[in-house]
């Protein structure tokens, strides 16, 4: 079944909102990149906290949504749209490469490992929470 066009429009809007939340989180955490030195500041003594928070929260959200029984459209909007816009992989990869190239190799590897472990844990906790509040998919 193909979702109607307006579902995709909502997914795109949700992706935009997710991006805005990520921008706000990254901008307002200690890893704040200032305009003009967008990637340079965060590799000197700072940890890319904002991206980690965005990815972990998005993983929790999509785990929760997967365990709740919203319609297929709501699932697309929340998981593919908002969660996809909030989370990111490109910045994670570039931050780790930047850390590595500035000699912070432990931080580069830790950034990847912590993100993956926290993301999987958050998705599992979200899914568990979704099921345990008793409205999970009923066996049919």
């Amino acid at each position: 079944m193909t979702p109607p066009w307006w579902t995709w429009a909502l997914v795109v809007v949700a992706g935009s909102v997710g991006s805005l939340v990520r921008y706000a989180v990254v901008s307002l955490t200690p890893s704040t990149p200032r305009p003009g030195s967008f990637w340079s500041r965060r590799v000197h003594g700072v940890w890319p906290t904002g991206v980690l928070v965005a990815n972990t929260v998005a993983s929790f959200l999509v785990g929760l949504v997967a365990a709740l029984p919203p319609t297929a459209a709501a699932r697309l909007v929340l998981a593919v749209g908002f969660g996809g816009g909030l989370s990111t992989l490109s910045t994670l990869a570039v931050d780790s490469v930047s850390l590595w190239r500035h000699g912070r190799r432990g931080a580069a590897v830790a950034n990847l490992l912590v993100t993956v472990v926290a993301g999987l844990a958050a998705a599992l906790i979200g899914a568990w929470l979704g099921r345990s509040i008793g409205v999970g998919p009923q066996p049919s």
Binding site: V12, G18, S19, Y23, P35, S59, G83, G85, S90, A93
Partner: protein, 125 residues
Amino acid sequence: MPRRSRLPYWREVALGGAIGTAARIALDTAVGPLAGGWDPGIALINVLGAVALGWLSVRALSGADPARWRAFAGTGILGSFTTFSALSLALVDGTSLGAGLASLVVSVLGGVAGAALGHRWGAAA
């Protein structure tokens, strides 16, 4: 004198975020599952996005306001084009474990290699 916003480029990020999300859906839909059952769309998107952001991150952008372009193209388009939550989701939504792990490993390792390659291209150009 207007108060200086802490999120000066929110319009650029919002527009770029919409574009990146639409591009992700289009590409993921166009790339179907392989014979083994693994759908490589998200991993491909993540590696491509990492190459592009690696390139962008070392480019000295010309123009009046390079930070504005980085917010639009980097934080907005490439940030929302690539995704991490889809990787987490695949491990809890009934996708086979092998397919989920393949997407995760290719995205993370391929993303790092792609970002390093993008860095190299951007610095050499």
